[in-house]
C-alpha cells in the first residue's frame, strides 16, 4: 500500500544535496558497462571513454556548484538520516576531490595508453575512489565514515596494483593493502570503543556524550586517541606512519601516485578535521600528539627527500613533509589556523598535481623518472620545464606563487596563537629552507646542465597529449593566480570553519565564544 508518510521521510533525507555523488555514480556505471561489454577496445574508443569520464566529473562539479547556489547553506544541513552533513566545509572538500579526480583522469590517458592494454577500468576506479572521498568528507556517522573510507581505500589498493604484470606495481599494491588493512583494523577498534563510551554512532550524539570526559584523563580515551591518530596519520602519510608512502608512490603507476598524494590526502584531512572539531572538541591532549606527528613528518620528510634520486620517491617524501606543515594548523586548532590549513590544502592540490603531471609528461617521453635524467630539459621542452619549475617553486614557498601565501598564512596563524607555538614555526621555517635544496636542485638540473642522454633522445616530433598539457597548464595557472586572488578563497575557508564550529556540542561552543 502507498503510504504518505514515506514521502515525508524521503523529503527529510535531503537527497537533493547528494546530486553530485549521484551523477558520479551514474557516470561510473555507464563507463563500467561500456568497459565490460566491449573488452577489446581500439585507441579511439579508449579516448572516448576518457572523455565520458571527464565529462562526468565536470558534470558532478557543476552539479555541486548548482546545489550550492540553489540552496545556500546558512546553517549545516543533515541528509540521509543524518549520516551526512551538508556544510561549506563539505562543499569545499568535495570540490577539491572532484577537481583532483578530473585532473588525474586528464593526465593519465597517454601514460596508460603507452604502458598497458586495459585503459578504461582505470577511470572507473578513479571515479569510485573519488565517490568514497566525497562521502567521507561530508560524513556525520561512524558507519558512514567506515564505509566511505573503505570505498576510497580498496579502490586505491587496486589502483596501486593497476599494472599487475609489473612486479613493482603488484608489490606496492600488496604492501599498501596490508598496511592499510592494519590501519583500518586499528581505526575500527578505536571507533568501537568510542561507540562503547557514547552508545551511538552519530557525531552529534557522541559529542554530547563525551562532554562528561572533558578535562579528565581517562585511560580509555587515551587508547582511543592513540588508535585514531595512528590510523588517520597513516591515511595522511604523517611520520612515523608514513612508511608505506614512498614504496607505494614509487611502485604504483605515476597518475595513481598523483591521485593518492592529493585526493586521498584531502579526504583524510577532511575527516580528521571533522572528527577533531566536532567529535573530540574540548580534548587538549590531541594537540600534543599531533604536534609530535607534525614535527616528525617535517623533519623526516625533508631530510630523507634530500637523498632521493627517483623523482616519484622524492615527491612522496615531499608530501610527507607537507602533511607535517599542514598538521601545524590542527595542533593550534584556532579557527584562523584551521582555515589557513584549508587554504593550504587548496594550493597543495594544484601545485602537487602540477608537479606529478610534469613527471608523467617527462616519463612518457623518456620512460624514466630518475632525477638526473631531467638534465637540460629546457633545451628540448621549454614549456614543460617552465610549468614544472613553477610547481616546484610553489612547493618550496617562493613568493608570487600560491605556495608562499599558503605557508605565510599558516605559519602566521600558528605564531599568533601563542608563545608556545613559536618553536613549531621556527622548526617549520628551517624545514622549508632545507626543502629548497632538493626542489631547486631539480630546476638547476633542468635549466643549467647539459642535456642527459634521455633528453637528447627526445625527438622534436614526439606527440604531446592535449589533455595532459591542458591539465598541466590549468594547475600552473591556478598555482600562479591563487596567490594573487587569495582573499575570496580565504573567506570561503573561514566560513567553512565557522560552520564546523556551529556543529560542536552546545556546551563547548559557548566556551569558545566566551574566549573570543
Amino acid at each position: 500500500m502507498f503510504d504518505l508518510s514515506s514521502l515525508t521521510v524521503m523529503s527529510q533525507q535531503n537527497l537533493f544535496y547528494l546530486l553530485p555523488e549521484g551523477i558520479l555514480t551514474l557516470g561510473l556505471l555507464v563507463v563500467l558497462c561500456l568497459t565490460i561489454f566491449n573488452p577489446k577496445k581500439t585507441s579511439e574508443e579508449n579516448y572516448a571513454l576518457m572523455q565520458v569520464s571527464l565529462i562526468t566529473v565536470l558534470l558532478a562539479l557543476s552539479a555541486l556548484a548548482w546545489t550550492f547556489l540553489r540552496v545556500p547553506v546558512i546553517t549545516p544541513q543533515k541528509a540521509a538520516y543524518s549520516s551526512i552533513t551538508i556544510d561549506m566545509f563539505g562543499y569545499l572538500m568535495r570540490m577539491l576531490i572532484l577537481l583532483g579526480a578530473g585532473v588525474t583522469i586528464a593526465i593519465s590517458h597517454r601514460f596508460l595508453e603507452k604502458n598497458t592494454r586495459i585503459v578504461s577500468d582505470f577511470y572507473v576506479l578513479i571515479m569510485g575512489a573519488s565517490l568514497g572521498g566525497m562521502l567521507l568528507a561530508s560524513s556525520n556517522d561512524l558507519i558512514m565514515v567506515f564505509v566511505a573510507l573503505e570505498t576510497l581505500s580498496i579502490t586505491s589498493y587496486i589502483l596501486a596494483g593497476y599494472f599487475r604484470r609489473t612486479i613493482k606495481s603488484a608489490e606496492a599494491s600488496l604492501k599498501y593493502l596490508i598496511y592499510g588493512g592494519m590501519g583500518t583494523a586499528v581505526f575500527l577498534f578505536g571507533l568501537s570503543l568510542v561507540y562503547g563510551l557514547a552508545g551511538s554512532t552519530n557525531f552529534q550524539d557522541i559529542g554530547i556524550a563525551l562532554v562528561h570526559y572533558h578535562g579528565v584523563v581517562h585511560p580509555t580515551l587515551i587508547v582511543i586517541m592513540l588508535m585514531i591518530v595512528a590510523a588517520l596519520g597513516f591515511k595522511l602519510s604523517a611520520a612515523p606512519f608514513h612508511m608505506w608512502a614512498p614504496d607505494v608512490y614509487e611502485g604504483a603507476p605515476t597518475p595513481v601516485s598523483a591521485f593518492l598524494s592529493v585526493v586521498s590526502k584531502t579526504a583524510a584531512f577532511a575527516i580528521t578535521i571533522r572528527m577533531l572539531l566536532i567529535l573530540f572538541s574540548g580534548f587538549a591532549e590531541w594537540a600534543v600528539i599531533w604536534g609530535i606527528l607534525a614535527v616528525l613528518s617535517m623533519i623526516i620528510g625533508n631530510f630523507v627527500a634530500l637523498k632521493q634520486h627517483n623523482a616519484k620517491r622524492l615527491l612522496a617524501y615531499s608530501t610527507v613533509a607537507h602533511a607535517g606543515y599542514m598538521l601545524l594548523g590542527l595542533v593550534v586548532g584556532t579557527s584562523v589556523s584551521v582555515s589557513s590549513l584549508l587554504f593550504y590544502l587548496v594550493t597543495y592540490l594544484f601545485m602537487n598535481l602540477g608537479a606529478f603531471a610534469a613527471v608523467i609528461a617527462f616519463s612518457t617521453l623518456t620512460q624514466t623518472d630518475e632525477i638526473t635524467a631531467f638534465s637540460g630539459l629546457v633545451q628540448k621542452r621549454p614549456w614543460l620545464t617552465f610549468g614544472f619549475s613553477i610547481c616546484l617553486l610553489s612547493l618550496t614557498g617562493i613568493p608570487i606563487t600560491a605556495g608562499f601565501f599558503a605557508k605565510f598564512f599558516l605559519f602566521q596563524s600558528v605564531a599568533l596563537a601563542g608563545p608556545v607555538y613559536i618553536w613549531l614555526v621556527i622548526i617549520a621555517l628551517l624545514n622549508s629552507t632545507i626543502s629548497m635544496a632538493y626542489y631547486l636542485n631539480i630546476i638547476r638540473l633542468m635549466v643549467v646542465k647539459e642535456p642527459s642522454a634521455e633528453v637528447e633522445a627526445i625527438s622534436d616530433s614526439a606527440p604531446t597529449s592535449s589533455a595532459l598539457s591542458t591539465a598541466l597548464s590549468f594547475c600552473v595557472f591556478a598555482t600562479l593566480l591563487l596567490g594573487i586572488f587569495a582573499s575570496p578563497f580565504y573567506q570561503f575557508t573561514t566560513l567553512s570553519v565557522q560552520q564546523l564550529a556551529q556543529q560542536r556540542p552546545m556546551v563547548i561552543s559557548q566556551a569558545i565564544f566566551q574566549k573570543k
Binding site: 561512524l142 587496486i158 612486479i167 608489490e171 600488496l174 593493502l177 568501537s192 551511538s200 554512532t201
Partner: protein
C-alpha cells in the same frame, strides 16, 4: 559459577586484537598476514555487538556496524588475495621478505 559481563567480552576482544596485531607485525607469509587482519576485524565485531547489548539496547547501530565490517572485510580480503595471486605468478612465493624490490 560466575556471570559473564561486558568486561569479559572486552578482555576477549583485547586479547584477540593483540594476537592479530602481533601476527601482522611478526609473520612473513602474506596469507597469514591477511588472516591476522581478519582476526583484528573480528575482535572489533565482537566489541561492537557486546557494546550494543550492554551499553545501548535502544537501537541496533552497533550490530549493523558489525555487518558492514563483515561485508567490507570480505571485499578487502578478496582484493588482497587477487593481488597476491598476481604477484605469486611472477615470483612463486608468498613470503613478504622476498618482495623486496621496493625497500620497506
Amino acid at each position: 559459577m560466575f556471570n559473564i559481563g561486558l568486561y569479559h567480552y572486552i578482555a576477549l576482544t583485547t586479547i584477540l586484537f593483540s594476537i592479530g596485531l602481533y601476527g601482522v607485525l611478526s609473520s612473513r607469509n602474506a596469507i597469514r598476514l591477511l588472516m591476522c587482519i581478519e582476526l583484528m576485524l573480528n575482535a572489533v565485531n565482537i566489541n561492537l555487538v557486546a557494546f550494543n547489548n550492554y551499553v545501548n539496547m535502544n537501537d541496533l547501530s552497533g550490530q549493523i556496524f558489525s555487518i558492514f565490517i563483515l561485508t567490507v572485510s570480505a571485499a578487502e580480503a578478496s582484493v588482497g588475495l587477487a593481488i597476491l595471486i598476481a604477484l605469486y605468478r611472477r615470483r612463486s612465493t608468498a613470503d613478504m621478505e622476498r618482495f623486496n624490490l621496493l625497500k620497506w
